[in-house]
Symmetry: C2
Subunit: 204 residues, 2 copies
DNA sequence: CGGGTGACTTGACACTGTCAAGTGATGCTG
DNA sequence: CAGCATCACTTGACAGTGTCAAGTCACCCG
């Protein structure tokens, strides 16, 4: 009982080969032919299944959003209070991004994916649903959506800065230190949101 | 009196051609040969100057960081109070990213650039210097660096989400609406930081 | 048995990055 | 002024790439 309806195996194998290739050599080196070689099929087989290089990458990205969705769902259910839950969600996003940097990178690289794939759109929306729900519990309902998106941007920005080594460079830390720093910053932000929500300044 | 020491023209022309190509067709279509064609030189001329496709893209990225640096410097000097200055800086970052999405995208795409180019590293560090200075004026000195980086992540995340149309998709807005939303979210964040800084909860 | 449909393969094309080897001008040296 | 080195490219070639048209082969429905 997986999220997809049991593909005929070759397609699945190709997809796995694509993910492996992506993780090993980065998205630029994911060529239809390299994936075909790795999966042991002819050079045009991937095009047969996915239509396109973009189609193949899109399939990988959709898969990535499904994985992100379960990661966030798990984090959301195991956090204790609502504020702990909120922070846990952010950390889960961060960890997913830092554990699978190549996939995360691809997932948000519209220019490499098929322009308006509906599966991609819904997968993305579904993955973010838990965040919305949790944020609504922390701040008031009226501002929930805005804070949810802002929080998403915080986590997303941290992932990007760590992944591209920008953070390590500016803060003069190694990559592990950068990840730790990102964790701390997210905590800082979460605490700030909770404090601000308990004592709303003028709005409301 | 430019930031670079008057290149012999051909190199400059190539660089301009590369930027144009990047803005028109996205980073994937920036090929050495296409740039050469656009600049009206032989197909190997770009490689002669930049060594590499990565070298050429890196030159474009360094240029981008220089532009970002002046944009942030201007914004920093025209904001009125320190909090207004802080917000102005964030908006300038946001606007730069949304006005030049392709260049901004490239600037943080380490995997496409030359791995440890010193010019790139210093250009990046210099561009972010104003943010550090302004943040130090808003929150206490001890936490300044952390808040500066967090703020950077916020702006960076918002740019990424708007650029990749993720924000428009989730919030069900068109691209212009998404940019406006990003502006508002940045204001929300800036106000929160200012409020939190004036009444620090427990730390400190 | 017969035909059609899906799952590939084969072969070709234009395009790409990169390299080795040129060519000509410019400037320095003796 | 002669010779020579260096720069700023060009020319030509190679392997690898995405994509397309056509082919092969197995299987299923009737």
């Amino acid at each position: 009982m997986s999220t997809e309806h049991q593909a005929p195996s070759a397609r699945q194998a190709l997809l796995k080969a694509a993910v492996d290739e992506l993780n090993e050599k980065g998205h630029a080196s994911v060529s239809l032919r390299a994936v075909a070689r790795r999966a042991g099929v002819s050079h045009a087989a991937p095009a047969h299944f996915f239509g396109d290089r973009a189609g193949m990458l899109t399939a990988v990205a959709v898969d990535g959003f499904h994985s992100l969705a379960v990661a966030l769902r798990n984090a959301g259910s195991e956090g204790d209070a609502t504020q702990g839950e909120f922070k846990a969600l952010g950390l889960a996003y961060l960890d997913f991004g830092l554990t699978n940097p190549a996939v995360m990178d691809l997932m948000f690289r519209r220019s490499e994916l098929v322009p308006d794939d509906p599966a991609l759109t819904t997968a993305q929306r579904d993955a973010l649903a838990p965040l919305r729900a949790v944020v609504a519990g922390v701040v008031g309902d009226d501002a929930a959506e805005e804070w949810a998106i802002l929080s998403w941007a915080v986590a997303h920005g941290l992932v990007a800065l760590v992944r591209e080594e920008a953070l390590a460079r500016v803060a003069e830390k190694d990559q592990d230190g950068a990840a730790d720093l990102a964790h701390r910053l997210l905590g800082l932000y979460a605490a700030g949101v909770a404090a601000g929500a308990q004592a709303p300044p003028s709005t409301r």
